[in-house]
């Protein structure tokens, strides 16, 4: 692997975001608005519960973590879409760049761009809605890590799908978090779900994060082992997503899809 080539992919994203208000603004704006909306909602809900209970760490904290997951996933796909939108596949892939370097470059770009969103979200929830991450204790770190890993896996998987199906299929990618969210219990316990949805939830790493978050806030017992299982699942999904990306890439080399990507032909 070449650090210089990985850096080139990250640098490309930096140049593009730096030079475009339309790209810079969404990195923090929608996440910030989400925090404001849910911040006021939790304040309102606090009026209806007995004193001592606080919706802020349970709901607002969960929404913050979920938004972080979305930023990570979109960070990967956005960096990939830049090559789709600028018809740049031949320039990128007819070069010494390895596919592993390219994907790693997308992931690092995503870390950089999602940190902007996370910083803005934290600023809003801490200063305006008095959410302290300390309430989650040391578990805040694995919560973020598991969501980060799962976000990367979904981002790489989504990019592979677009590589396979063509530019218009990006509209399949944007709603993926919305499709996942009912299963992972961002706002409610998994036990609320019907049995078949609970089974699906077991295979989704964020389920363990949000169950853990609720348990901590409600003062219930929570085993870190279940979070380790969630982390292992997320690592497995990253591996599978990367393998899927490589398979799609090799398939597109064989069919000619890479050089005729805009034709949106599956061959």
């Amino acid at each position: 692997m070449s650090v210089s080539r990985i850096f080139a992919i990250v640098l490309r994203q930096f140049y593009i975001v730096r030079g475009s208000f339309a790209r810079l603004f969404p990195l923090f704006a929608w996440a910030g608005i989400d925090m404001i909306l849910w911040g006021f909602l939790t304040r309102y809900l606090n009026n209806f519960v007995s004193s001592g209970f606080n919706f802020v760490p349970m709901l607002l904290g969960a929404v913050l973590l979920w938004d972080f997951f979305i930023r990570i996933m979109q960070g990967v796909t956005m960096a990939f879409f830049e090559d789709v939108w600028s018809n740049n596949f031949i320039n990128v892939f007819a070069s010494p760049l390895l596919i592993s370097e390219y994907v790693l470059g997308l992931v690092i770009s995503s870390i950089a761009t999602s940190m902007i969103g996370l910083t803005v979200m934290l600023f809003i929830v801490v200063f305006f809605f008095k959410l302290s991450l300390l309430i989650y204790g040391i578990m805040a770190v694995p919560f973020i890590l598991v969501l980060f890993l799962f976000g990367i896996s979904i981002g790489v998987f989504g990019s592979a799908l677009v590589l396979h199906l063509g530019p218009a299929s990006e509209w399949f990618i944007w709603p993926i978090p919305a499709l996942i969210s009912p299963f992972v219990g961002v706002l409610y316990p998994i036990s609320t779900l019907p049995h078949w949805m609970q089974l699906v939830a077991r295979f989704l790493p964020p389920s363990y994060v949000f169950e853990g978050l609720r348990a901590i806030v409600l003062g219930k017992e929570f085993s870190g082992i279940t979070l380790v299982w969630g982390g292992c699942l997320a690592v497995l999904y990253i591996f599978l997503a990367y393998m899927f990306f490589v398979k799609i890439y090799k398939h597109s080399l064989h069919t000619g899809l890479l050089v005729r990507h805009s034709a949106e032909t599956l061959n």
Binding site: L11, I90, N91
Partner: protein, 247 residues
């Protein structure tokens, strides 16, 4: 080493359509080889396979003795390319694009090399302009500047002067000739401009229906086949490939 590029029995089909049918050729140091043929002859498919963005069904490609299948990254690092259908991303400036591609190609002194190619292709006035705002001629020069970043030993040019006025095209041909004479590099050049091919190429390969029909010196080849000019020979091959005895 005697060959920069060595292609053996290269084939590619899209379903039942045979795009490239078992072609073999080579490019030697200090040589410009023209890859000619009518539209759909298989030129771009061949170039795509040489660039590693299309996998051949059969055959082998060696760049400076390195097998493209086994040493893709290393082999491609000795090449570069430009084509009218692969402009530099329009949402970045010329300098940004060149800095990125210089890093991808492992250029040691990135700022120095970027300055050099910008100067070489008279692009100083466009350094901070987004590539999407370039005219066709400026885009071609920018593409060539990118192609020269790593001082490649094998340069693949797919119709590099297709959108240029005669004066700019002549300038570009001069720069490519200069590149070949001052280095040990070789060039594979596709073009539909037979005047240009005759002026620039040391050797030409006529491709039709995925096969190489003729190969030779562009200055003597027409007479050898009873034609006055390369253009006449091209038209004959494009319309009546059977008469040259391959199919």
């Amino acid at each position: 080493m005697t060959e920069i590029l060595s292609v053996k029995s290269l084939s590619k089909s899209y379903g039942k359509t045979v795009a490239v049918d078992g072609i073999s050729f080579n490019v030697r140091p200090n040589e410009i080889v023209g890859l000619l043929g009518p539209n759909g002859a298989g030129k771009t498919t061949t170039i795509s396979m040489l660039l590693g963005v299309l996998k051949p069904d059969a055959g082998s490609i060696y760049i400076e003795g390195m097998d493209l299948r086994g040493s893709r990254s290393c082999a491609i690092s000795r090449t570069n390319f430009t084509a009218v259908y692969t402009p530099l991303p329009g949402n970045m400036t010329l300098e940004e694009n060149l800095r990125i591609f210089a890093r991808i190609w492992g250029v040691k002194d990135v700022p120095g090399r970027v300055d050099k190619v910008i100067e070489e292709f008279d692009l100083a006035g466009f350094r901070n302009k987004k590539c999407g705002l370039f005219s066709s001629g400026e885009q071609t020069r920018a593409g060539l500047a990118k192609a020269m970043l790593n001082e490649p030993n094998l340069l693949l040019l797919d119709e590099p002067t297709a959108s240029l006025d005669p004066s700019t095209a002549e300038e570009i041909r001069g720069k490519i000739r200069k590149f070949v004479s001052r280095s040990s590099g070789g060039v594979l050049w596709t073009s539909h401009n037979m005047y240009e091919v005759e002026a620039v190429c040391d050797r030409v390969l006529f491709l039709s229906r995925g096969k190489i029909l003729l190969e030779g010196d562009p200055k003597t080849l027409p007479a050898e086949h009873g034609k006055k000019t390369l253009e006449e020979l091209f038209i004959k091959i494009a319309r009546e490939p059977l008469t040259v005895g391959v199919f």
